[in-house]
């Protein structure tokens, strides 16, 4: 009891152990698993990151079905910061998908803005709309995939029909 009393008394005058968060930033160590940044120039659109992501925080939307143009979308408020996407990305070494050691601010009065965070998050202004917009995107992304699959199928059919026709004209010629 007495020993504890002495210990407590010492604690009264020692340096505080706590950090004055949120007035001071909480220090992140080297190698902290923070935000995922993306570089579109380097991406080969292999979709591996989307497939591995456990909560589905990465979504590619096919905006132009005919040219297979895809847009990367990332939701930092859904991400669990596991880093699995960076592990599977074949272009990670070049810096296509990287995990930096800083964290983004919690969703308070403003939504973070950064070109490297993907398309959707940069379009939203009101923090209350993030969740709704993401739900809508999930549906849109799924539909765009179906549309793309349908388009591919049509193309294949067309090709086959053309080949058939070419064959027929060939046999006709003979």
């Amino acid at each position: 009891m007495v020993k504890m009393f002495i210990e407590s008394f010492k604690n009264l005058f020692s340096k505080p152990e706590t950090v004055k968060y949120p007035f001071e930033p909480f220090p992140e160590p080297e190698g902290f698993r923070g935000t995922i940044l993306y570089d579109e120039e380097l991406c080969i659109f292999c979709d591996r990151c989307e497939n591995v992501c456990p909560p589905g925080a990465i979504l590619f939307e096919i905006v132009d079905v005919e040219n297979n143009k895809r847009e990367y979308n990332y939701n930092p408020y859904l991400c669990i910061y596991c880093g699995a996407c960076v592990d599977v990305c074949p272009k990670a070494d070049e810096g296509c998908l990287t995990q930096v050691n800083t964290r983004i601010k919690p969703l308070g009065n403003e939504v973070v803005k950064n070109k490297k965070l993907g398309y959707l998050i940069n379009k939203i202004e009101n923090p209350k709309e993030v969740e709704k917009a993401w739900r809508e995107l999930e549906i849109r992304a799924k539909e765009s995939r179906e549309k793309y699959a349908e388009f591919k199928k049509q193309q294949r059919l067309k090709k086959r029909a053309q080949a058939q026709k070419a064959k027929e004209t060939k046999t006709d010629d003979n």
């Binding site: 504890m4 160590p29 902290f32 591995v52 669990i80 880093g83 699995a84």
Partner: protein
Amino acid sequence: MGNKIVVPFGSQHIALPEPVSFLFDTKNEIITDVRVDVGYVHRGIEKAAITKFEFTNVAYLLTRICGFCSITHAGGYHHGIEKLLDVEAPKRAEYIRLIITELDRIHSHMLANAHVAEVAGYENLFMQGVKDREIVMDLLENITGNRIQYDIYTIGGVRRDISKETAEYIKKQLNKLKDKVLKVYDFYDTDYTFGLKTKGISYISYDDAKKYNVVGPIARASGLATDARAEFDYLPYDELGFEVQTRTEGDVWARNIVRQMEVVHSIDLILRAIDNLPEGDIKVKYKGRPKGETFVRVEAPRGECFYYLKGNGTKVLERVRVRVPTYSNIPILKELFVGEKYSDAQPIVLSFDPCMSCTAR
């Protein structure tokens, strides 16, 4: 002699951050009966694991069962899936796994002990314990990149290496921690007021511990030397000279002391592991898909955690079953309350260090 009064403990209670409900029937402060409900945080994780996730990324889900022993679930799953895929992690990876597992045990035990001190009315000791615990949290953050969810396991190895500098840093910090832990150990051991609140409370005899199949520090505090680290071969504990820590008193106090002894022993284990860290790869490649069934026993901070995995050759597993230590300890917990004072209910619950997120999943 007094009427029967029902006193609820939970589902939200200030002493326990997790939702669990105990309804105590009391007569003159003495508990005569108790009803327990543990299902408040059921999240359907076992079902999600066999429907929504492939075996390559289901571990990220399973480790999020619990915030304390996420490494236990990572261990349970990965050792199992490695058996099914027939891969063996390199030695260096095994050592790194062991280091993280033991660091996790240290921080869990320190908080559990501090918590008991807090509900016994000894806030000072609580603060002292939690203050020292921060050293371990910083170490974990440094090695793995996160304080809680380490995600260091991967199939066939670990995801991050421990560099020379980090190894030195760990050693330095752990030596510092050891001094502090021994000091706090002394408080738990010799403090008079803390002893009054905890000695002789909720006694479990060796026979009872055996009969009710008690696991973890609670069993070891009653002299029952059960520890998956010694009984099941999953990490190189033998090589590092692991010893099961036991006491024979079987009360709240003994449980704290066992946990504190384990903290000290874990620090020794880690120091030895760092000194003998083998060179080599940290990861090997694996092929194929899981087929067949297997089980794994791993020692969580709270006791033995059991994993059962069944694969059918597809990407998605057919069954993932988890049985966590708290679940095995609930039957005896129920028995213990009867006859004790209501004011002792909190230390009793907290001395079991229950983890409801694990139990309900």
